[in-house]
Structure formats: structure tokens, C-alpha cells
């Protein structure tokens, strides 16, 4: 079945995705981010979210963690990466194994 690919973030960060033909949701606050997430989750397989927005609506995104679809993936916006992606990765490693084995 065909699903959409969506991107949620501020104007500058989502610009490259617009050119690639991916559906984008521009948002500039918690309210609009939640609205975007809700409408994207209905028919998207993958939702890319900028890290600053991800932090804003973390609890709502966590609801999709154990569902097979959609996959909500954070990416660094134009303001630079905060290491959130790696942090989440470490979180799931810790959850599965009990201790973090990725830290060198």
C-alpha cells in the first residue's frame, strides 16, 4: 500500500524536502506542530521531524513508538544538531539491553 512521506519543521529546515517532492508541514509552535503530527500520522509511513519540534511534542510522538506505522524520525534543523537522534538511539539500546553499550 502507498503511504505518504511527511516532514514537520520550521520554514528553512523543510525547504530541501519541498524540492524533493515530500509533503511538508510548516509549524512554528506546539499547537501547529501537534496539528501537523495528527494529520500526518493518518496517512504517512514516515514522518521526519526537526529536533526542536520533536522535543516540543515528545510525549505525543511517544504514542507511536510501539506501533509499526508511522515511523517518526528526528533530524537536525538549520539551527544545528543537538544530538537528539543519538540520544534516542542510546535510549532504545538501554531499554533493550539494560545498559548502554554504544558509548565508547
Amino acid at each position: 500500500m502507498a503511504y505518504n512521506i511527511s516532514v514537520i519543521g520550521n520554514k528553512e529546515s523543510i525547504l530541501p524536502f519541498r524540492a524533493a517532492g515530500v509533503r511538508v508541514y510548516e509549524c512554528n509552535g506546539r499547537g501547529s506542530a501537534l496539528k501537523a503530527l495528527k494529520s500526518a500520522a493518518g496517512d504517512s509511513a514516515v514522518i521526519y521531524v526537526t529536533e526542536d519540534v520533536f522535543v516540543m511534542i515528545r510525549d505525543e510522538i511517544a504514542e507511536y513508538d510501539d506501533k509499526p506505522l508511522p515511523a517518526v524520525i528526528p533530524f537536525p534543523g538549520t539551527s544545528g544538531g543537538t544530538g537528539l537522534g543519538m540520544e534516542l538511539l542510546n535510549g532504545s539500546v538501554e531499554r533493550a539491553i539494560g545498559s548502554n553499550i554504544l558509548q565508547e
Partner: protein, 211 residues
């Protein structure tokens, strides 16, 4: 470990022994499942780490390209150029089964427009925008791969946690409890047997005395 609250009868003993058998069997199976999930998870997680690094670097480059391209254009031109994408990308989803966890796999498909078509005319935009758009196209595949692996890792970690809890519950609660209860019933029944024998001996003595 507290024993179960059951009456010490032969029937209960049979029932508990059966339950212990099932619990041991389940424990062994779940332990195997946990080990296999762990193996798959380790494979994914290394790849995930590497891919995320690459994706973040690639995206930062693409965003920079776009910002530079945008700096040479007016906001309106850039907006107008990207306002109506000439193509749309959708994801084809198939599910793969990793030891009982169904994990999605994504494949992207361009539904309208071709891979090389741009959504803007060349008259008002510059070549750095073209280059930036092209580099973004290449990123898309990598981003989907990242989504696939990250989702799989997340789903697997949830499942591993659940399985581990079950294994531990069986190993440290259920099985010891059943063993203890079985032992208790056995002892109780032996005790009953002994007391019956003693009673019989006593009765026999009394009968002999009265003769």
C-alpha cells in the same frame, strides 16, 4: 518464595506438575526468543548509528546548499519556485517478520513527475538551487533507510523489554512458586500417610488388648 494457596490434594498436585512443565517449556522458548531478538537488535543498532551520522551530515550539507541558493534569490522567488512541487513521492510499505515482530520496510516511489524533473522554471532561479535539489534527491533514499532501521530498532527494543520481563517472571517467580507448592503438597501427603499408619497401629494395639 510464598507458596500458592491451594489445598494439598493429589488432584491439585497433578495439576501443578502439569503447570510446572508448561512454565519450564515456556521459559526455555522465551529465552531463545530473547536471545535471537538481541542478536538481530545488535546488528541493527550498529548500522543505525553509522547511518544516522551520515544522514545528519548529509542533511546539514543539503540545508546549507539551500540556504546559500536562497540567499542569492529573493524570498518570493524561492517560495514561488518551490510552492508547487511537480512531483510527489510516496512510500511503498511492506512488512517483514523478525522473530514475531512485524517491522515495516519502505521503498519510495515517485508518483507524478519524473526523477529528473524540477518543479520550477530555469529563468528566475540559479544553478546552485538545481544542485541543492539534486543532492536532496540523493539523500531521500538514505533517509528512508534510516527510517526503516530506526523504526525496526525501536520496535525490537520494545519487544526485547517485554520478553525479558516474561523470562524473568517465569524464572524467578512462577517456577520457584510452583516448585515450592509441589514440595509442600508432597510433604503434606506423606505426613497424612504416616498419621494414618500410626492410627491403624494404635487401633490394632487396642483391638489386641481387648481380646
Amino acid at each position: 518464595m510464598a507458596r500458592l494457596n491451594v489445598s494439598p490434594t493429589r488432584m491439585e498436585l497433578g495439576r501443578l506438575k502439569k503447570r510446572l512443565g508448561v512454565a519450564r517449556n515456556g521459559h526455555k522458548l522465551l529465552k531463545d526468543k530473547r536471545d535471537e531478538l538481541m542478536k538481530q537488535f545488535m546488528k541493527l543498532i550498529r548500522r543505525n548509528q553509522e547511518l544516522r551520522r551520515n544522514c545528519e551530515a548529509g542533511l546539514a550539507r543539503a540545508q546549507n546548499d539551500f540556504l546559500l541558493a536562497g540567499a542569492l534569490l529573493s524570498d518570493e522567488t524561492l517560495d514561488a519556485a518551490l510552492m508547487l512541487p511537480s512531483r510527489s513521492v510516496t512510500a511503498e510499505v511492506t512488512f517483514r517478520n523478525i522473530t514475531g515482530v512485524s517491522v515495516p520496510e519502505f521503498d519510495y516511489r515517485i508518483t507524478s513527475g519524473s526523477k529528473d524533473s524540477q518543479c520550477y522554471g530555469f529563468s528566475e532561479t540559479n544553478s546552485s538551487l538545481d544542485r541543492a535539489a539534486q543532492s536532496m534527491d540523493r539523500m531521500l533514499e538514505m533517509l528512508l533507510e534510516l527510517a526503516r532501521i530506526e523504526k525496526a530498532a525501536k520496535l525490537l527494543s520494545c519487544e526485547i523489554e517485554k520478553t525479558r520481563r516474561r523470562v524473568n517472571a517465569l524464572e524467578y517467580v512462577m517456577i520457584p512458586q510452583l516448585e515450592e507448592t509441589i514440595k509442600f503438597i508432597n510433604m503434606k501427603m506423606e505426613e497424612n500417610e504416616r498419621s494414618t499408619r500410626i492410627r491403624l497401629m494404635k487401633v490394632k494395639d487396642m483391638v489386641l488388648e481387648n481380646k
